[in-house]
């Protein structure tokens, strides 16, 4: 229909993966993997150029029959919600491969690159699917390479972590599969045709009980992936034991699949239940924010610390999503990108440290500032971005989220601020212990500063942080239309709920009473 641009984007990495299987020379493997990650990267920027920022619907869509017996189509498209997550994926995969080729992965590079590229196909496919069956396929497909990445190139209790990761995710996804099937069945009852197409499924009328159960199944699958407290326990194990590239992709992109799932499926499919569930999810998000921050503060291991900080940051994203107003949701999507860039950056930096010292214990370091000034400076920028310093990307997202939360439930914003303060606290304290003070270990006297390749890996990360911190407008303006369209469904549900609660107040239906009537310009002005 339009040259199969998105299809090429999804399957180029897979072709690259198969191509790499035929290589045997190590240098050739790394080079071809890097080139095959550059192709989708270039393509994703071309998609960005082609993307029409004023359209809320799916763009560049393609739809073909796949399994007509089940009404399953190969339907893909891109909109403002998925656009930048696609870019994030292609960027982080490229950087991870560039980094891993520099000595981090020494064993079986062919399989490593194969799984990384298959993972990229899975991630991009899940982001671009419009057909629920197709989405589920890619959702499961991305699980397998990550399992191998953790289990084959991880450290410590890697097998335990890999299996735990699979089992946690599988419980959620299989229950979601049952919910998908039930939803399709209801659609069949109502429209008398079997279809997994998302736009059609949005219109399925469900009873209140059905809606609650289905929402619960979807929400569980996505909450495990996010991960929300209290189903987050797989994350610290997976992160701590994964290889650096695995952690980068896991934190940078895969966790976003959970929040993306809420935005794309759980909330718009069941808007009424989502509106009802606002207090519950905001409470869980806040518990996650504060719990994650407190636990992170006490971690002796750098990777575990970042893992728990992810729990905290992803809590912010959930808070923004369940504010269910443009500010909150825009902020949540922005924060998803921020977290991908900054946490990805942090994991890369810890990986670089680990390559030099083969330990991640905070107590093993101290005074590194004097030995490795460039590293320390880069670390400083990435850490400040993670904290949310104005001028860097983290600030924009957190600010919008707190604005959204404030407009929804004021108390929630108060707790979120506590989380921000705690975040600054543990990050700065960690930085102090690693970088400042006297050098306590003799081995630290000999470690070298960043290599050229490592600078090449980190430079785009820093550039993104500055760009996204200073110029949020080009991103937000592309995100906004799709978010508004998505929220319109929640608004209708909200109005209907209020009408049910106060049947005599027909005024509830007027636009003024909808969730948020603030114009995008106001949100921009508030910045």
């Amino acid at each position: 229909m339009n040259g199969g641009l998105l299809t090429a984007l999804i399957f180029l990495p897979l072709i690259g993966a198969l191509f790499i299987l035929m290589q045997s020379e190590e240098r050739a493997i790394w080079n071809s993997a890097f080139i095959f990650s550059l192709l989708p990267l270039a393509l994703s920027f071309y998609v960005l150029a082609e993307f029409n920022p004023h359209v809320a619907e799916y763009q560049l869509a393609e739809q073909y029959d796949w399994i007509p017996a089940f009404g399953i189509t190969y339907h893909i498209g891109i909109d403002g919600i998925s656009l930048f997550l696609v870019l994030l994926t292609t960027i982080l995969i490229t950087l991870s491969l560039l980094y891993s080729g520099g000595g981090d992965i020494e064993e079986r590079p062919r399989e490593f690159c194969f799984f990384m590229l298959v993972l990229e196909t899975g991630l991009l496919g899940a982001l671009l699917s419009v057909d629920l069956f197709l989405f589920y396929i890619f959702w499961e497909v991305m699980l397998i390479p990550m399992y191998f990445l953790i289990g084959m190139w991880g450290h410590g209790r890697k097998i335990y972590a890999a299996i735990k990761f699979v089992l946690f995710t599988a419980v959620g996804s299989l229950l979601m599969l049952v919910a998908i099937l039930y939803l399709v069945y209801s659609a069949h009852e109502h429209f008398n045709r079997t279809s997994f197409d998302l736009p059609l499924l949005y219109q399925v009328p469900l009873t209140v009980t059905e809606g609650r159960w289905l929402f619960a199944a979807f929400a569980l699958a996505f909450a495990i992936k996010v991960p929300m407290w209290p189903v987050h326990t797989w994350l610290p194990d997976a992160h701590t034991n994964a290889p650096t590239a695995g952690s980068v992709i896991l934190a940078g992109v895969m966790l976003k699949m959970g929040t993306y799932g809420f935005l794309r499926f759980a909330v718009p499919l069941f808007p009424t239940v989502a509106v009802e569930a606002i207090p519950l999810f905001m409470a869980l998000a806040i518990i996650g924010i504060i719990y994650g921050a407190l636990v992170a503060m006490m971690q002796p291991d750098l990777k575990r610390l970042i893992a728990y900080s992810s729990v905290s940051h992803m809590g912010f994203v959930m808070l923004g999503i369940f504010a269910l107003n443009p500010e909150g949701v825009d902020g949540a999507i922005y924060q998803m990108l921020n977290h991908g860039v900054s946490t990805g950056g942090l994991f890369l930096l810890v990986g670089m440290l680990y390559m030099r010292r083969h330990t991640r214990e905070i107590s093993e370091f101290g005074g590194l500032w004097k030995r490795v000034p460039v590293y320390a400076a880069v670390f400083m920028v990435v850490m400040l971005s993670s904290i949310g310093l104005p001028g860097l990307n983290g600030f924009v997202g957190e600010f919008l989220i707190m604005l959204g939360a404030f407009l929804r439930i004021r108390l929630a914003a108060v707790f979120a601020v506590v989380g921000v303060i705690l975040g600054a606290l543990y990050m700065l304290w960690t930085y102090e212990r690693v970088m400042f003070g006297p050098i306590t270990r003799a081995v630290n006297e000999t470690i070298g500063d960043l290599t050229g390749r490592e600078i090449a890996v980190m430079a785009p990360v820093i550039a993104l942080m500055l760009f996204m911190g200073l110029f949020p407008r080009p991103l937000i303006s592309r995100i906004e239309p799709s978010v508004t369209a998505m929220l319109a469904r929640a608004n209708v549900a909200q109005a209907r709920l209020e009408l049910e609660r106060q049947p005599n107040r027909l005024a509830a239906l007027s636009p003024a009473r909808q969730i948020s009537n603030r114009k995008p310009e106001m949100a921009a002005a508030a910045r």
């Binding site: 796949w66 089940f70 299996i163 299989l174 049952v178």
Partner: protein, 498 residues
Amino acid sequence: MSPFNLAAINFVWLPILPLVVVTVAAMAVLLAGVRVDDSESEGLGLLTLASLAVAFVFTLGILGQYGVAFAGAISVDSFSAFFELVILIAAMFTVMMSLDYAAENRIPGAEYYSLLLFSVLGMMLMAAAGDLIVIFLGLETMSITVYVLAGIMRRNAKSNEAAIKYFLLGAFSTGFLLYGIALVYGATGTIKLGPIHDALASGAMGSNPLLLAGIGMMVIGFGFKVAAVPFHMWAPDVYEGAPTPVTAFMAVGVKLAAFAAFIRVFMVDFASVGAHWQTVLWVIAALTMTGGNLIAVVQTNIKRMLAYSAIAHAGYLLLGMAAGVRSGPAILYYLLGYTFTNLGAFSVVIALERRGEAGNQISDFRGLAARQPLLAGAMAIFLLSLTGVPPMAGFVGKFYIFSEALHQGYVGLVIIAVLNSVVSAYYYFYVLVAMYMQEGGVEVERLSARPALVAAVGLAALATILIGVYPQPYIASAANAFHSASGAEGSHSAALEP
């Protein structure tokens, strides 16, 4: 249909041509093998393979034909053709696995291959049966030959144990089936499937105690053959003890044949009295899935693990049966994917196996990915398919069965099934752990000298992916096959539209 009608006789020979080919081949192999040394039986194997291929081509000819033959003893429809084709595929794979295995382990080739062919004959009879007696005949032909095949390694104690156990329990279960057939005959006054269907559909039977007892007995009889909990006790020991190609043949071929007859009798002819047996199957399905998966978790021997996994898969299939007529096509499709996946997995097990017992422990798979990346990759495909990970055939099969069951309101059973899939992920992935994340294990020898085995692994892997990625034609033929069975004996077509 009068047996003296010449036109009818002309008609009836064609549909059983594949059966004739297999029978003649079995006798020819036996005769040809008189002078063949046990260690040089490859030639006999190739002869067997060729005759199976001929039977396969003839069976393709039946597709689309429609009716009954031999005065109703044989059903001619796409249902029997579908199962015959899949059974022949399973048999061909078994032969490909056996070529070197039989010679290396000095298994008497003539007996081995002709017994295999006779058992294929029994299986195809079960698939094509038009009355209960032919089902029983097919079942006995299949079972007795498989008892012998399980014990064909005469000097191996475990092989002997397997044969004896299988024989004793199998004979016992056959008694149940036969008694059930007799009671159903007593209740309906006929052994022909079509008239039984009509008698039950008329509603005159009600809950006739003879009929109910008969159905119950038949559930037990078939339950034994498909290894459903609580009739599964024989399976693990027999699977472990039997020569590995025979194990593969039992796990796939016997299961296919038993399900062919089970589905035809219950989902087509007993469909109108579904209320009497669907609840029973609900319970059996839940027990089978859960029992099979939970016990599989603690296995250390790969053949035992695959045995329990086969039990678990029988549970998913029974789920489809319990959910009623609509799931019929889904069950057929699932069996097709299961056939290739399981045969592939057993082929890899054979590749690792050496004379004696070595190579059968899961720990023997350690480090396989580093030494034999392609073999390990194929095994990974099979394990992922068994787990039900897209885009493999196993996923679409589960998806299809679960979705049809859900459409018929069996939400509880489907939830039990998906939770079971999570449990199964644990033990299937444990083999992946051994292959990819651990070191040690056994060396794979002379893989290049065993082209048939390599071909079996490769073809099974390709089929597992192909049937999963592009399922439409297979879904269509499964649906067509199932509907032709129910259409041949009248009615239901209204309930069957997708």
